[in-house]
């Protein structure tokens, strides 16, 4: 036992960002634990990340096959027990398909893959990624996706907004909203949401690509710092 918070990262066939997520956890002072989609075992981790990529080739729908992977039963049970779960990009899509988060992610409005830096505004400190942040803070992080347009039924969207489940919105550098800052046409500029209990969060941007100042902006640092303190609280309650 190292005493460090242990953060599991699930590798599915077609995951791409699992290594970056593991590296980001280690860079920020945690212990990254590789998890495998076919194992019904979370190896006693304190938090779980479902990383970006194209799990199972994104066949049928993004995340539609991955949600039935054996490990997902364990992830759902872990989430039910209050464990922090983070879905990034394809991981967000998987959480929505699994019903652990409301809504769905569909093709970008402009039908093009988008790969660029964006600003997101933190909307709540109630999530595993934003516990150390306050609403209104703006972070610079990259997005890279073809199917990142968040949509939900009218009832779901009303509940998401009414109950404060939006965690991140695309915005300008000063935090103001505007369609020009929305890279995919997401409803209400939603870049990330949480569940009602506040322990499951999904987002399209990639904080794991934005922790090391040697390679760019570091908007992901406070998010991973929050995740590690959240996970640490489970190590030593």
């Amino acid at each position: 036992m190292s005493g460090l918070p242990r953060v599991g990262v699930v590798t599915f066939p077609g995951s791409l960002d699992d290594r970056d997520a593991l590296r980001a956890v280690a860079f920020m002072g945690g212990e990254g634990v590789p998890l495998w989609h076919a194992d019904r075992d979370l190896r006693g981790v304190d938090a779980v990340i479902l990383p970006g990529g194209f799990s199972y080739g994104d066949y049928l729908r993004c995340g539609a096959i991955a949600r039935f992977a054996p490990v997902m039963e364990e992830v759902a049970a872990f989430a039910d027990a209050g464990g922090p779960v983070v879905g990034i990009c394809n991981g967000f899509q998987i959480l929505c398909e699994a019903g652990l988060l409301p809504g769905a992610l569909v093709r970008n409005r402009q039908l093009r893959f988008v790969c660029r830096w964006v600003e997101v505004r933190v909307e709540t400190s109630i999530s595993p990624l934003t516990g150390d942040l306050v609403a209104g803070e703006v972070l610079r992080v990259p997005v890279k996706h073809g199917e990142g347009r968040f949509v939900a039924t009218d009832e779901q969207l009303a509940r998401i907004e009414g109950e404060g489940l939006v965690v991140f919105r695309y915005c300008a550098a000063d935090g103001s909203l505007g369609d020009v800052h929305n890279p995919n046409g997401a409803s209400n500029a939603i870049a990330g949401i949480r569940n009602e209990a506040g322990n499951v969060v999904g987002l399209m941007p990639h904080p794991e690509h934005a922790v090391d100042p040697d390679v760019g902006a570091t908007g992901g640092q406070p998010l991973f710092a929050s995740l590690l303190s959240n996970a640490l609280a489970r190590v030593a309650p």
Binding site: V106, R107, T153
Partner: protein, 87 residues
Amino acid sequence: MRYRAQVVVSLKDGLLDPQGKAVEGSLPALGWTNVSGVRVGRYVQLDLEADGADAAEDQVRRMAERLLSNPVIETFDVVDISERDGA
């Protein structure tokens, strides 16, 4: 009995379909200027063993609800269920 089912999955009405828009935007260049409302969906064909057409359709519907479609964004139609010859 062996049945073949055909399921069409469509994006819900009102949900922006950029694929459909792209197709619609290309048709006038080929001379068809009278087309609108293009929507791109998904077609799934599958064979299954079942005790009668009703049982087959019931199972196909459950599979469509659970996996073939996502009820948040899509609707589905079981457009055909027919017995397979020589099964």
